[in-house]
């Protein structure tokens, strides 16, 4: 206790003595005006320090800082130009299409009757466009039934029809099985039908069903899949909680 007090007194004395030392140092020094005459402050130096501060704050060198500035100006210009261009309807539509096509989590399948569209198979299946007229030529001899005559020929055991809707251009059948498993079959008239599917965490493959090209997205872990097939007259989309073989068999038996 006594030692602590002694130490504090000693440190207090040191502080006073040091202050006296500093005061003497100040007396020894030239006045601020004299020092300013010897070393005049310049605005150029100040600017340099401010630039240094900025560069150090973001832990970058000065050239990088300038490059960033250029990049920012460039980005602002690009953003403004893009904003102006987006006021045009056609540009908006093109951008929308581009974004949809680039978005790799989806498969977009287009069924078209127009003869000038050709079949494209891009890598990773970003876009699939099937020219139905070509398939039609290949299956020239096969007679395609009308959409209204289509019947569901097969559903796996345990599934029962829950609801069905039949309209002029679309048909929908829903089957329910055990454990809330479900089969949903949609049939659309092939009038430039476009279908987009989420293919994240799934296997995507192209198969042949009754001589028609079909697209199968299947999650083997969850045993859930979607199969899409189409021709000149209609497009069928089957979403089902069942085995892959059953899913294909359902598609084969829609006649």
């Amino acid at each position: 206790m006594f030692k602590n007090v002694q130490e504090e007194v000693f440190e207090g004395l040191i502080t006073s003595a040091l202050k006296e030392y500093i005061a003497y140092q100040d007396v020894c020094m030239p006045s601020d005006e004299e020092m300013e005459e010897m070393y005049p402050p310049s605005k150029k130096k100040l600017k340099k320090y401010l630039r240094m501060a900025k560069a150090r704050k973001y832990n970058v060198s000065l050239p990088v800082l300038y490059l960033r500035r250029v990049a920012v100006v460039f980005l602002v210009l690009v953003s403004v130009t893009f904003g102006v261009l987006m006021t045009d309807g056609e540009v908006r539509a093109s951008v929308r299409n581009a974004v949809v096509k680039w978005y790799d989590k989806y498969v977009q399948i287009s069924f078209s009757e127009s003869a000038d569209e050709s079949e494209t198979n891009e890598t990773n299946n970003f876009v699939e466009t099937t020219d139905v007229s070509e398939i039609e030529q290949e299956n020239e001899n096969e007679e395609i039934p009308d959409m209204k005559d289509l019947k569901i020929g097969y559903v796996p055991d345990g599934f029962e029809l829950l609801s069905s809707t039949e309209l002029e251009n679309t048909k929908e059948y829903m089957y329910m099985g055990q454990n809330d498993s479900c089969i949903l079959i949609n049939i659309y008239s092939s009038d430039n039908t476009e279908i987009a599917m989420d293919n994240e965490h799934t296997d995507y493959e192209e198969i042949c069903v009754n001589g028609n090209e079909a697209y199968l997205v299947y999650d083997a872990t969850e045993q859930i899949g979607t199969l899409i097939l189409g021709n000149r007259k209609y497009t069928v989309m089957i979403n089902a909680d069942c085995e892959k073989a059953d899913l294909i068999k359902i598609a084969e038996n829609i006649k």
């Binding site: 002694q6 007194v9 000693f10 440190e11 004395l13 040191i14 502080t15 006073s16 003595a17 040091l18 202050k19 006296e20 030392y21 500093i22 003497y24 140092q25 007396v27 020894c28 020094m29 030239p30 601020d32 020092m35 300013e36 010897m38 070393y39 005049p40 402050p41 130096k45 100040l46 340099k48 320090y49 401010l50 240094m52 501060a53 900025k54 150090r56 704050k57 973001y58 960033r68 500035r69 920012v72 980005l75």
Partner: protein, 185 residues
């Protein structure tokens, strides 16, 4: 993106701090560094720039409201940077102690003359004049300016352990000076 744009904008507070330190202490820092570097303008400029780098890097720790405290800090940092610059250039510049004494004698201010009476306090003041600059600087920053040892280590670019050792040794030297005169606190 917006945050990126914003991050490029320097805070006004930092800018003001730098401007204040520069406008108020640049000449003082240059003079202090000049004392070590024999007022070689180019060397002084480099040393002050190095000192400013330390200040800029630690702007958050710097309080601009206490003029004297900041002046002491700026002076000591620039003096230390000047000494570092000397070492770096392997300059034959005189040590700071010599320079200080030289300055004092040139101004006819003999530290011996400070001791008017042979009591504890005046012996201590004299001992502080005789104290090595490296011990005195850390003691000023700690006892006069109230900086923590960790902060002093950052400002003087020293390991914290060295700062603690210097303060301990400085105090021991001062204590020894009192013992020699058979004085005790």
């Amino acid at each position: 993106m917006i945050s990126y744009y914003l991050s490029l904008v320097e805070t006004e507070e930092d800018k003001e701090k730098i401007e204040y330190i520069f406008n108020t202490f640049n000449s003082f820092m240059s003079y202090t560094a000049g004392e070590v570097l024999h007022h070689n303008k180019q060397d002084v400029e480099d040393a002050v720039q190095n000192a400013m780098v330390v200040i800029i890097e630690n702007l958050k720790m710097i309080d601009t409201t206490d003029y004297q405290r900041l002046r002491n800090l700026c002076g000591i940092i620039s003096k230390n940077k000047a000494k570092d610059y000397c070492k770096l250039k392997d300059n034959q510049a005189a040590s700071l102690d010599d320079t200080t004494l030289e300055t004092l004698s040139s101004k006819e201010l003999n530290p011996e003359g400070i001791v008017l009476q042979n009591d504890t306090y005046e012996i201590l003041v004299k001992a502080i004049y005789d104290l090595d600059e490296k011990y005195r600087d850390v003691c000023i920053l700690k006892y006069v300016n109230g900086y923590k040892e960790r902060e002093i280590a950052i400002f003087l670019d020293l390991p914290p352990k060295t700062v603690s050792t210097r303060i301990f040794r400085g105090k021991n030297i001062l204590r020894e000076a009192l013992r020699k005169e058979k004085l005790h606190v």
